[in-house]
C-alpha cells in the first residue's frame, strides 16, 4: 500500500511539474500547444503548419481566442486536479494564461470537452466531506487518498489523449480553428462546427480532407475518428480540412432506388413512394448483412504506376472491387480482385484529365490513407460521367462501412431535426427580444429538471427558452444553445453575466435567481468537496472557467450565494486573471437592459443584448456559466 502511495505521489509530482512548466509556457508564448499537456509521449502538434509562428499569424484573433478558451479549459482542468490532490493553495500559482486579445469572445469549452470534464469532476465530487467543519482527519485522509488514486488514473487517461489543432475552412471563405482530440468522432466535430457557424445544420454538412498533391477530396464519415486520418498527413502537408455540404454524403438514404435499382431508368424511379424507399433501405441495410448495390460496368483503370488507362468491366461485391479479365465471363469464379476495402479509402479526384490524361474528369482513387503522394499502390479509376462516379464511390462506401453508414445517417437526421427545432425557437425568441425571459416558462423548465446534480440539464433550463421540445431528449443538451443567431437577445447565459454584471440589487431582491433552483437544494452545509477546500477558494480563474459549471461543487451554504455578482464584478474578474478577459470595449450593461427586464417581470438577470458580435459562437454550455457565476458570488463574499 505504501508503495503504491509513494508511486502515486511521485507520479503526481511529476505531472505537476509538467503542468507548471506548461503554465509558464502559456504565459510566455501566446499559444501554448495543448498537446504538450499530455506529456512527453504524445507530442503531436498541429497539423498543416510548417512553422508554428506562421500558423499563428494566419489565425485570426477570434480563432486565437476560441483556441485559447479551449486551452485554458484544458489547463485548468489539469490544474483543478492538482489542486485537489495537493490540497494546498498551490493551484493559484502556476497557471494564469490571460490571452491579452482585445476582442475576446471567450467561449467556454466546447460541448465535448464539457461532457468529458463533467464526467471527470463528477467522479471526484462524489464523496464530499463538508469542508466548513472539517470532519475527523482520518476519514478525510482516507477520502483524499481514494480521490487521489482516482485522479491519478483519470490523469493517466487524460495524458494519453492525443490532441490536434485544426484549422477548418468553411465554404464561405472563413475558417475556424478547433482543437480536436482522438476521442472525438467526426460527428462531434461537425456538431462543434454547427455551434460555431451559422449554417443550416442539415445532414449534408461534412468535414472533408483535400490533398492538393493528388487533387483529391474525401468526406470523412461521421463515425470516423477525426484525429486518425489527420495524423497520417505529412509535416509539410498542404492538405486542408474543409467544412462543406456534400450532397452525395447521404444521397443513398434519400433516394436508395437510384443506387439499388440503378439499372432502371432514373426517370421511372423519380417518384418512388417514401414507403417503398424505406422498405428498400430496410431490406438492404437492416438484414444480417448489408447488401451492396450490384454495380457493374465499364470503368477506366490506371494501375501499378502505369501511364495508360485501360477499360475494364468492373463489378462491385461486398468483398471488394473486381473486374472480369478479357475473354472471360463475368461469373464470380473468373473475377479478378482489384482491391479489397479493408485498408483503403475512396477519394474523389479533380481535374485528372490534365494531371493524368484521364479519359474524363470523373475519377476516383482507392488508396491507403497514409499514402499522400502519387504511388503505384494507388488504384486510379475513371468513369464516364459524374453520376456513375457517385454510384461507384457510394457503393464502395457501403461495402466498406456497411451498416455504420446507415446508423450515421440516422444520427445525423436526428441531429438535424433537433437543430432545426432549436433554430426555430431561437428565431422566435429573438423576435421579441424585449421580453426575453418569461418567468413561468423558466419555472416550468426548472420543474422539469429536479435533479440539480445534472449540470447539463440545468444548463438547458437556464436559457430563457421554453422547455425543450420533446425531440430534445435525443440531443445532448448543450449544442442547441449555440445555435443562437449572432446577436441573440441572449438568454441570460452567464457568460454574458460575467461580462456585464447586472446591477446587483435587482436580481437579488426581485426573485429567487433561477439558477439556484437548479442547484442542489439550497445546501445548508454545502457538501463541499475535498477538492474545494476553502483556503483554495480564491481559485485560479482558469480553474473555475474550465471546470466551470460542470462539476462545480455546490455553492457555499451562504444564502448570499444566490447573489448575483456584485457590481464591481468586472474588475474582480480581471484581477482574478484567467477568467474571461474583461470584456473589451463594451462598458457595463447598457442601461436599457435592466429596464427591459423589469417590466417583463422576469426574474432572470437578463443580460443586455451583447454588443454586436460577429462571431456566432456563443457556445457556452450554460452549466458552466451558472457555475462561474456562483464562483464570482463566492469570491465576492470572500473578499468582503
Amino acid at each position: 500500500m505504501d508503495d503504491i502511495d509513494a508511486m502515486f505521489s511521485d507520479m503526481l509530482q511529476e505531472m505537476d511539474l509538467l503542468t507548471q512548466s506548461l503554465g509558464e509556457e502559456a504565459e510566455s508564448a501566446p499559444l501554448p500547444k495543448p498537446s504538450t499537456i499530455p506529456g512527453p509521449q504524445e507530442m503531436n502538434f498541429s497539423v498543416g503548419f510548417t512553422d508554428f509562428n506562421a500558423s499563428l499569424h494566419n489565425l485570426e484573433d477570434n480563432d486565437l481566442d476560441a483556441l485559447m478558451a479551449d486551452l485554458v479549459a484544458d489547463i485548468s482542468a489539469t490544474e483543478e486536479k492538482f489542486a485537489t490532490e495537493k490540497d494546498t493553495s498551490k493551484g493559484s500559482a502556476p497557471v494564469a494564461p490571460i490571452p491579452s486579445q482585445p476582442q475576446s469572445n471567450f467561449s467556454l469549452p466546447a460541448s465535448n470537452d464539457t461532457s468529458r470534464h463533467a464526467t471527470f469532476s463528477n467522479s471526484i465530487a462524489a464523496p464530499p466531506p463538508p469542508p466548513a467543519s472539517k470532519p475527523s482527519k482520518d476519514e478525510l485522509e482516507e477520502q483524499v487518498k481514494a480521490d487521489k488514486i482516482k485522479l491519478a488514473l483519470e490523469k493517466l487517461k487524460e495524458a494519453k489523449v492525443k490532441k490536434l489543432v485544426v484549422k477548418v475552412e468553411i465554404t464561405d471563405g472563413s475558417s475556424k480553428t478547433l482543437m480536436v482530440d482522438e476521442r472525438q468522432t467526426v460527428r462531434d466535430v461537425i456538431d462543434n462546427l454547427f455551434e460555431k457557424t451559422h449554417c443550416d445544420c442539415n445532414v449534408d454538412w461534412s468535414v472533408c480532407e483535400t490533398n492538393p498533391d493528388l487533387q483529391t477530396e474525401r468526406g470523412f464519415e461521421d463515425h470516423e475518428n477525426i484525429v486518425e486520418p489527420l495524423s497520417t498527413w505529412t509535416r509539410d502537408t498542404e492538405n486542408k480540412v474543409i467544412f462543406q455540404e456534400k450532397k452525395d454524403k447521404y444521397e443513398v438514404f434519400r433516394n436508395p432506388q437510384n443506387f439499388y435499382m440503378w439499372k432502371k431508368e432514373k426517370q421511372s424511379l423519380k417518384d418512388m413512394k417514401e414507403k417503398d424507399k424505406e422498405q428498400l433501405l430496410e431490406e438492404n441495410f437492416c438484414g444480417a448483412s448489408v447488401i451492396v448495390p450490384d454495380l457493374e460496368g465499364v470503368l477506366y483503370l490506371k494501375e501499378d504506376g502505369k501511364k495508360s488507362w485501360k477499360q475494364r468491366y468492373f463489378l462491385l461485391r461486398a468483398s471488394g472491387l473486381y473486374y472480369s479479365p478479357k475473354g472471360k465471363t463475368k461469373a464470380s469464379r473468373d473475377l479478378v480482385c482489384l482491391v479489397q476495402f479493408d485498408n483503403v479509402n475512396v477519394y474523389y479526384c479533380k481535374e485528372y484529365r490534365i494531371k493524368y490524361k484521364a479519359p474524363t474528369d470523373h475519377c476516383f482513387i482507392l488508396k491507403h490513407p497514409q499514402i499522400q503522394k502519387e504511388s503505384q499502390y494507388i488504384k486510379f479509376l475513371c468513369c464516364d460521367d459524374e453520376w456513375i462516379m457517385t454510384l461507384w464511390v457510394t457503393g464502395i462506401r457501403i461495402a466498406k462501412y456497411g451498416k455504420q453508414l446507415y446508423d450515421n445517417h440516422k444520427a445525423a437526421v436526428r441531429k438535424a431535426a433537433g437543430s432545426a427545432t432549436w433554430a426555430n425557437r431561437t428565431i422566435q425568441a429573438s423576435s421579441s427580444p424585449s421580453t426575453p425571459s418569461p418567468t413561468p416558462k423558466a419555472k416550468a423548465a426548472n420543474g422539469h429538471a429536479p435533479q440539480p446534480a445534472v449540470e447539463t440539464k440545468g444548463s438547458s433550463n437556464q436559457t430563457s427558452f421554453p422547455p425543450p421540445p420533446p425531440s430534445m431528449e435525443t440531443l445532448p443538451p448543450p449544442p442547441p444553445d449555440p445555435m443562437l443567431p449572432p446577436p441573440p437577445p441572449a438568454p441570460p447565459s452567464t457568460t454574458k453575466v460575467n461580462k456585464f454584471p447586472p446591477p446587483p440589487q435587482f436580481p437579488q431582491s426581485s426573485f429567487p435567481p433561477p439558477p439556484m433552483d437548479d442547484l442542489p437544494p439550497p445546501p445548508p452545509p454545502p457538501p463541499e468537496d475535498s477538492e474545494l477546500p476553502p483556503d483554495f477558494l480564491p481559485p485560479p480563474p482558469p480553474f473555475f472557467s474550465s471546470c466551470g459549471g460542470e462539476a462545480l461543487p455546490p455553492p457555499p451554504p451562504d444564502p448570499m450565494a444566490s447573489l448575483p455578482p456584485p457590481p464591481p464584478a468586472p474588475q474582480n474578474f480581471a484581477s482574478s486573471g484567467g477568467a474571461p478577459p474583461p470584456p473589451p470595449p463594451p462598458p457595463p450593461p447598457p442601461a436599457p437592459a435592466p429596464a427591459a427586464n423589469k417590466p417583463a417581470g422576469s426574474i432572470r438577470k437578463v443580460a443586455p443584448p451583447p454588443p454586436k458580435r460577429t462571431t456566432p459562437q456563443l457556445a457556452a454550455p450554460s452549466g458552466g456559466n451558472l457555475m462561474s457565476e456562483l464562483m464570482t458570488a463566492m469570491q465576492k463574499k470572500r473578499t468582503q
Binding site: 448483412s289 468483398s319 464470380s332 480482385c337
Partner: protein, 641 residues
C-alpha cells in the same frame, strides 16, 4: 340400413396377414369403424396413434366423427389401419442422416414444425423437406455405417417450451446416445475429405440448380399423400432464405445447421463466389472446425461450461490487471530481440537478404547492424501500425518470411523479414500482426496469436509430409474449398492463401466466426435465390425464374443474364390456373406476367412465392406463434390474394 363388408388391412398384424373384413353400415362413423377393427384384431396395444388410410384415394380418414357415407367410402374401398407417426430417415443440412419419427398424416408444414421441435430448431417455417438427390455412384457397403444417429425413441412433445438440462433440451439428456445426437446437431462437423466433396453432386449451371428445387414437398399435404413410405429418406433444409430473429443464445442447432448448409452450398459450388471469398470461407471453416473440436473436449460436462467460461474470463481479467500493474511498476514493455534477415526489394537491384539485429518494441521494429550497436541509433525504425502483414512460408524449403507492406506518404514500403525457424517466425509474425492493428506485445492476445500460427504451420507440415495419404483426422486445406480449387491449386499453394485470409478471422470466437461466415454468405450477390425452369406466356424458349426473398428475377438462359426483376412489394395479386398449371402475377402499373413451370410442380413455385410473402409478415413481437392458416392461405393457391 343395409350392412356391407369393409376390407381393412391392419399393418400391425404383419405384412402377410390377410385383411380384416368388418361389417358396417354407411352411417357408421370412422371412430366406430376403428373400434370394431380393434376389437376384431384381439391385439392389446396402444392404438391411439393409428388411423385409417384410404389407399386408392391417397388420403387419410382422420375425422372420426364423419360417417363412411360422408367420407365416400363404399364396399370397394381398401383401407389400411396404420400408425400416423412413422420412422423417417432425415438428411440434415450437415450431411448426417438421423432416424426419427415424424407424422405422416398431418400437412408437411406441421410435420416440419414437430421435427424441428425435437431437434430444437427455432423458426421451423424457414425449413422444409425435399426428396434427396440420388448419389452419383452406387454405394456398396456404406449404408449400414450411415445410420449412426437414432432418435426414434424420443417422443414428440407437444409443449413448445424446452426445459434445458445440462445445457441441452431435456429430451436429449436421457442417454449418452441422445446426447451424442445433440452434439452432432449443435456442433459443426470437421471439414469433409476432398474426395467426399468430389463424389457429391454439383450443379454445373443454372439449369442444374433448378433441379434441386423441383424436389420440395408440398407443405399443405401429408407425407403419405406424397408417396413417402416409412423409413424413406428425406432431406431437411432451410428453404426460405430469411432468417428471422437469429439469437446465438437459443439457436445453437439452428446456427450450426445453417452454417453447415451454407458451407456445403459453397463447397459444392451451389452458390458462386470469387477466389478471395473462397479463401476467406476456407479460413473461417478452418477456424470454426478447430474451435468446435476443442469445444468437444469440454462439452462432456456441459453444465460446467458456464462456470468455466466465467472463471476463464476472470482469469483473463486478473492477468490483464496484473499486466497493467506490472507496467506501472517497472514501466518496461516487453520486446523481441533477435538477428533477422531483412530484404527490401527495390527496382533494378538484386540485393539479397542481409542480417541485422532487430528489436521489436511497441508497434515498431528497429534494426541495427549488430547486437553491439543496439544502444545507438537504429539504421531504421519501421512503425507497423496500419501496415499489411502477409506470410511467405514454405516448410519444405524451410523458408519463414514475413512480408510487410508499410504505408508511407509516398506509397507502400515493401520489406521482407526472414526468420530462422518456426518458433522465431511465429513470435515475430504474431508481433507484426498485432502491431498492424496498433496493439503491442503487452496485449493478451499475443500468446494466443503465437499459438495460432504454430498450429497453422503444423497443419501445413502434415500436408507436406504426406501429400498423398491423408489421414482422416488431420485437417486438409483441400476440404475447405470447392473442387474447382482442388484442380487449380496444389495444397502447397492453397495453404498460404488460406493462412493469409485466416489472419483476419483468427481472433473470432466460435459463434462470431459462424456468424461471420453466414454474413459473408448472405452478402454474395446470388445468395438466397432459388431457381426454377419456366416458360413465360408468349415465349417460345425456356427461361429461368429466380425467386428471392424480395423479388422475382427473370434470367435469360442464352446469356445467363438477369433480364428483369420484379419486386414483391409491387405485387398486386397472383393466382394459379390449376388446369393449365400456369401462374399469373399482376404488378403495380398494369404489369402482368404469366408462366408455366417446366420441370417443377406449379405448386412448388407458388408456395415459394407465397412462402416468402408469409415470411415477410413475421414481426419480432409475435415470434412465438406461427399463423399456420395464413401460411396455407398464402401458399395453398386456392384463393387469390
Amino acid at each position: 340400413m343395409a350392412a356391407w363388408d369393409l376390407t381393412v388391412t391392419v399393418e400391425d398384424l404383419g405384412p402377410d396377414a390377410p385383411p380384416i373384413q368388418i361389417s358396417v353400415t354407411s352411417d357408421l362413423h370412422i371412430g366406430g369403424v376403428i373400434l370394431k377393427l380393434v376389437e376384431q384384431t384381439n391385439l392389446k396395444k396402444d392404438w391411439s396413434d393409428h388411423a385409417l388410410w384410404w389407399e386408392q384415394k391417397q388420403q387419410w380418414l382422420l375425422r372420426t366423427g364423419w360417417t363412411l357415407d360422408k367420407c365416400g367410402v363404399h364396399a370397394d374401398a381398401r383401407l389400411v389401419f396404420t400408425s400416423q407417426h412413422k420412422a423417417l430417415r432425415l438428411g440434415l443440412p450437415n450431411g448426417v442422416t438421423l432416424k426419427m419419427r415424424a407424422c405422416f398424416s398431418s400437412p408437411v408444414f406441421r410435420t416440419v414444425i414437430a421435427i424441428c421441435r425435437v431437434l430444437n430448431l427455432r423458426h421451423p417455417e424457414e425449413l422444409s423437406l425435399l426428396r434427396p438427390v440420388e448419389e452419383k455412384k452406387k454405394k456398396k457397403d456404406k449404408d449400414s455405417s450411415e445410420e449412426l444417429y437414432d432418435l426414434t425413441d424420443v417422443p414428440l412433445t407437444a409443449g413448445s417450451v424446452q426445459a434445458l438440462y445440462n445445457g441441452m433440451p431435456a429430451h436429449f439428456a436421457d442417454s449418452p446416445k441422445t446426447e451424442a445426437v445433440y452434439k452432432m446437431l449443435s456442433v459443426s462437423l470437421p471439414s469433409p475429405a476432398p474426395e467426399a466433396i468430389a463424389r457429391l453432386y454439383r450443379p454445373a449451371s443454372v439449369v442444374d440448380k433448378t433441379h434441386i428445387n423441383t424436389r420440395w414437398l408440398d407443405s399443405s399435404r401429408s407425407l403419405m399423400q406424397q408417396g413417402i413410405q416409412e423409413n424413406d429418406k428425406l432431406w431437411l433444409r432451410f428453404k426460405y432464405y430469411t432468417f428471422h430473429d437469429m439469437d446465438p443464445k437459443y439457436d445453437a442447432v439452428r446456427l450450426t445447421q445453417l452454417y453447415e448448409q451454407a458451407r456445403w452450398a459453397i463447397l459444392l459450388e451451389d452458390i458462386d463466389c470469387t477466389e478471395e471469398e473462397m479463401m476467406l470461407f476456407g479460413a473461417l471453416q478452418y477456424h470454426i472446425g478447430k474451435l468446435s473440436l476443442s469445444q468437444d473436449m469440454v462439452s462432456s460436462c456441459q453444465g460446467m461450461d458456464d462456470l468455466e467460461s466465467a472463471l476463464k474470463s476472470l482469469e483473463v481479467k486478473m492477468v490483464g490487471d496484473s499486466n497493467s500493474t506490472d507496467m506501472l511498476e517497472n514501466m518496461t514493455a516487453p520486446e523481441l530481440n533477435d538477428y533477422l534477415k531483412i530484404f527490401r526489394p527495390k527496382r533494378l537491384t538484386l540485393k539479397g537478404y542481409k542480417q541485422y539485429w532487430c528489436k521489436f518494441q511497441d508497434t515498431s521494429i528497429s534494426y541495427y547492424k549488430s547486437s553491439e550497436d543496439r544502444f545507438g541509433e537504429p539504421i531504421q525504425q519501421l512503425n507497423l501500425k496500419g501496415c499489411e502483414v502477409a506470410p511467405d512460408v514454405s516448410l519444405a524449403g524451410q523458408k519463414f518470411c514475413i512480408r510487410l507492406l508499410i504505408p508511407a506518404p509516398e506509397g507502400m514500403n515493401e520489406i521482407y523479414l526472414r526468420c530462422e525457424n518456426e518458433k522465431q517466425y511465429s513470435q515475430w509474425m504474431a508481433a507484426c500482426k498485432l502491431a498492424s492493428k496498433g496493439l503491442t506485445l503487452l496485449d493478451i492476445s499475443y500468446q494466443n496469436e503465437v499459438k495460432n500460427i504454430q498450429t497453422f504451420l503444423s497443419m501445413q507440415r502434415s500436408n507436406c509430409a504426406a501429400p498423398v495419404a491423408q489421414t482422416d483426422d488431420s485437417i486438409n486445406t483441400l476440404g475447405l474449398v470447392s473442387p474447382r480449387y482442388h484442380k487449380k491449386y496444389k495444397p502447397k499453394q492453397l495453404t498460404p492463401r488460406i493462412l493469409e485470409a485466416y489472419q483476419n478471422v483468427a481472433q473470432l470466437s466460435l459463434t462470431s466466426a459462424i456468424l461471420r461466415f453466414l454474413q459473408i454468405w448472405q452478402a454474395l450477390p446470388d445468395f438466397g435465390t432459388s431457381y426454377f425452369m419456366v416458360r413465360f406466356k408468349g415465349s417460345r424458349k425456356d427461361e429461368v425464374l429466380g425467386i428471392a426473398n424480395n423479388r422475382l428475377i427473370r434470367i435469360d438462359l442464352g446469356i445467363g443474364d438477369v433480364v428483369k426483376t420484379w419486386r414483391y412489394n409491387n405485387m398486386r395479386q397472383w393466382n394459379v390456373n390449376w388446369d393449365i398449371r400456369q401462374m399469373a402475377i399482376e404488378f403495380d402499373g398494369n404489369i402482368n406476367i404469366a408462366f408455366s413451370c417446366v420441370n417443377a410442380d406449379c405448386k412448388v413455385v407458388h408456395e415459394y412465392i407465397g412462402g416468402y410473402i408469409f415470411m415477410s409478415t413475421r414481426s419480432r413481437q409475435q415470434s412465438d406463434t406461427l399463423d399456420e392458416q395464413l401460411f396455407h392461405k398464402l401458399t395453398g393457391g386456392h384463393d387469390a390474394l
